[in-house]
Subunit: 275 residues, 2 copies
């Protein structure tokens, strides 16, 4: 049975993503993303799962940074539609609610809805599912949580209002981390990080190594390096598998041009699951 | 005298960015980013200022979306180092604090510090500076705010602990919006949005129009279009001015290849100011 560590409480979006990919795994809830990286580093047979990119809020640069500071491989991905519901203890009515708890980012995503609630204190909690858990454990009849349908089910809360997130096109891409790289995938993708000095055309030359070999790009993003003006880090996702000759040659060619290249992983293209 | 609208209360980071670029302007605080776009649309002589990109949290996709839905030009930019301080009424001591107020995102940025504070309720408020303002107005001796040094000064609060943000390399890039485009800049940059169908090499060909003319790229980011698999939106910042022949030709060339191109603006490269 696989073991998968994630950040948050049972009922968190990360748990949902983990469950979507590993239906029968033993799931380990941890406090921080760094804890997830450390767990996966210490346990070679286990996995970690972390969010890497959101359709509204962009790339999670801090998790790219953690990827660069650890020696783990990306071995899978899954996209999760983020849906947030207002939930309370069974029998509690809308006008009894004086406090709304959730993670700071989830509160931000529901700002428009929260403005329509009167005389309510909006309280930031360490986790979306954690706020549902607290309401259950403390039997708080004056409070509601903003969390996933899975959190409502996990803690026996009743959903008072569905989909209170401002943007309904809200998807988070999660990646699976492991000490062990996957074996080569036929229809896979690869994630790379590389840096080039910002001389005109440097990025273009770097991309040429893929285009000249008809390798498709799935994602590209530049990130200025703090403290190193005119030097950039690039995140790239390409279609292909590392054992294919043209991919291997493209990576060799890239290392001639870039000051730094790292393959973060090779893995099957993930599906989208509903939250 | 220029008029500049921003989102937030006096003392907000957006106000600080506006003040950095327009030292003597009349500044108008508004409730939402959309309000700022609408204000700048209605007042052709005025400006709006909005955050577009953060070094830790990535691009503000919702503001790119608002850029595409309005007919405004980017006419300037400035980078602000985000520093968050814990502040309270003068004379209030650390152990008297029972509540910490700030905007949800700022609370998220100070998560590690907040975990070290015991018996404290962390409360999400609509704005960083707004929470400092509330503490002043309600003379709350049991509460502190996480906000900028400018907010402390504006509302006469005392800083109890400086720089409690987890990541000190935290910079936000703000852009200035106007109905009127700037006149061509000699040493400027240009921001574009375009989309290409994801056929192998489509992006490469699109970038070739700049590389072949030795036009430097300053930012590139792909964003999958929700509901349109394999179609991407690209955000691009390039060096140059729209009146230069090679830039004009590159843009004509790009419109042959892309299904959609829009120049968001042409403006001088901005400086970095401290928060």
């Amino acid at each position: 049975m696989a073991t998968v560590a994630y950040q948050g409480e049972p009922g968190a979006f990360s748990e949902q993503a983990a469950r979507g990919l590993f239906p029968r795994a033993r799931l380990i809830p941890l406090g921080t993303f760094k804890d997830v990286f450390q767990f996966a580093t210490k346990h070679p047979a286990a996995f970690g799962i972390i969010p890497i990119e959101n359709s509204v809020y962009g790339s999670v640069h801090q998790n790219y940074d953690l990827l660069l500071r650890h020696h783990l491989h990306i071995v899978g991905e899954v996209k999760l539609r983020i849906q947030l519901h207002l939930m309370a203890l069974p029998g509690v009515k809308m006008d009894e609610i004086r406090f709304v708890y959730s993670h700071a980012q989830a509160l931000g995503q529901c700002e428009e809805f929260l403005r329509t609630m009167r005389d309510v204190n909006v309280v930031a909690y360490y986790d979306t599912a954690g706020s549902a858990k607290m309401i259950k454990e403390e039997q708080r009849r004056d409070a509601a949580a903003l969390a996933s349908a899975r959190a409502a089910k996990t803690y026996g809360l009743h959903i008072l209002k569905r989909n209170v997130e401002s943007n309904h096109h809200n998807y988070t891409r999660f990646i699976v981390l492991s000490r062990r790289a996957t074996s080569a995938q036929v229809n896979g993708k690869m994630s790379l990080v590389f840096s080039v000095k910002n001389i005109p055309g440097a990025l273009f030359k770097a991309l040429a190594v893929f285009a000249l070999r008809e390798i498709n790009l799935l994602k590209i993003e530049s990130r200025p390096l703090v403290g190193r003006p005119w030097e950039y880090l690039f995140y790239l996702d390409i279609e292909g598998r590392p054992t294919a000759d043209h991919v291997r040659q493209a990576l060799e060619h890239l290392s001639e041009l870039a000051s730094f290249v790292r393959v973060l992983g090779s893995y099957p293209i993930g599906k989208t699951i509903k939250g």
